[in-house]
């Protein structure tokens, strides 16, 4: 990629000079008659990829009397939570990415876009957090179910826990107080992905 760019830097630079105009500062991008910038059709995208930064010591600002602290760490890309009737929290962990690579562009863009993302591997699991004594510290962190496919949506209905995998909807039997699924899930339906 870098050698390609280096070899062709000159002709590309010539081609790209045509599309780097700064939009005027007094442009109005909303309202009934928005003053939209002209569409750009350059050969190479001109955006930059944001660098992922860990939280570190930074915390969101909250009103007086509140505080923010992590109740669980070392999760593998948590995306969705479900609070169970007994106060346990289920966390769906996973990274999507079943999209077919239709063009060489998709392969290259995938590599570039991954630089703006976490390098943590997809967890493909559900983690259960429990705060048995109600002091705000979730002392139990355990894997509720494993071997899922980038789970996202979670719902509990009439003793069944429904999990939306990337490509299918599955169901676990759930009893209150469980810390681990009693077995592998059964499939409810395929999902388009």
């Amino acid at each position: 990629m870098k050698t390609h760019l280096a070899l062709t830097a000159l002709p590309l630079a010539l081609l790209l000079t045509a599309c780097g105009e700064e939009p005027g500062s007094n442009q109005q991008f909303y309202g009934a008659q928005p003053d939209l910038p002209e569409p750009e059709r350059g050969l190479l995208p001109s955006m930059t990829i944001a660098e992922p930064t860990p939280w570190g010591d930074q915390r969101p600002t909250v009103p007086e009397g509140f505080s923010v602290s992590a109740i669980a760490t070392d999760l593998k890309i948590p995306r969705q939570t479900l609070v169970l009737p007994n106060g346990d929290i289920l966390v769906a962990e996973g990274r999507g990415g079943n999209a077919a690579k239709l063009k060489p562009k998709d392969v290259i863009a995938g590599v570039i876009k991954a630089r703006g993302n976490t390098s943590v591997e997809s967890g493909n699991r559900l983690t259960l957090l429990r705060d048995a004594d109600g002091d705000g510290t979730y002392e139990l962190q355990t894997v509720f179910a494993d071997d899922l496919n980038a789970p996202y949506g979670l719902a509990l209905h009439e003793g069944s826990l429904y999990v939306a995998n990337q490509d299918e909807l599955v169901r676990f039997d759930y009893e209150e107080g469980q810390t681990k699924a009693s077995g592998s899930p059964s499939k409810v339906a395929d999902l388009p992905s």
């Binding site: 390609h4 070899l7 062709t8 002709p11 590309l12 081609l15 059709r41 050969l43 190479l44 239709l102 063009k103 060489p104 562009k105």
Partner: protein, 142 residues
Amino acid sequence: MTTTTATPHAYPNILSPLHATLLCGQVPLFLGALIADIAYYRSYQIQWSNFASWLIAGALVFAGLALLFALVGLFRRRNPRPLTYFLLLLVTWVLGFINALEHAKDAWAVMPMGLALSVIVTLLAIVATWAGMAQPRTGDAR
């Protein structure tokens, strides 16, 4: 011009088998991309555009490696390869790369520039391959 040292090669400009394979291999790949582009232009089926993208990528690999051979060939002490061949291949590759970027656009944004570039690059690839495979006529050996 006297034949005191018998030339070891009967054909002084013959390409090595690998060089020849790489050079000739780009032609059907660029041609395939052109045909896919024509099919897309006529049918509006985006899949043809995907095919063209991959064929161009493959052609660039072949042409790029052949270009390395051609570059090295310029500096051979005995029978250096003609500069025109190298330049033709270089232009083919650069335009082919621009064509690859053009084909990276979404759907119909590829047209009509992608098709036009495919025609040009295919013709250039054929000419460059011709120049690379051609033998100098008896008498004007370098």
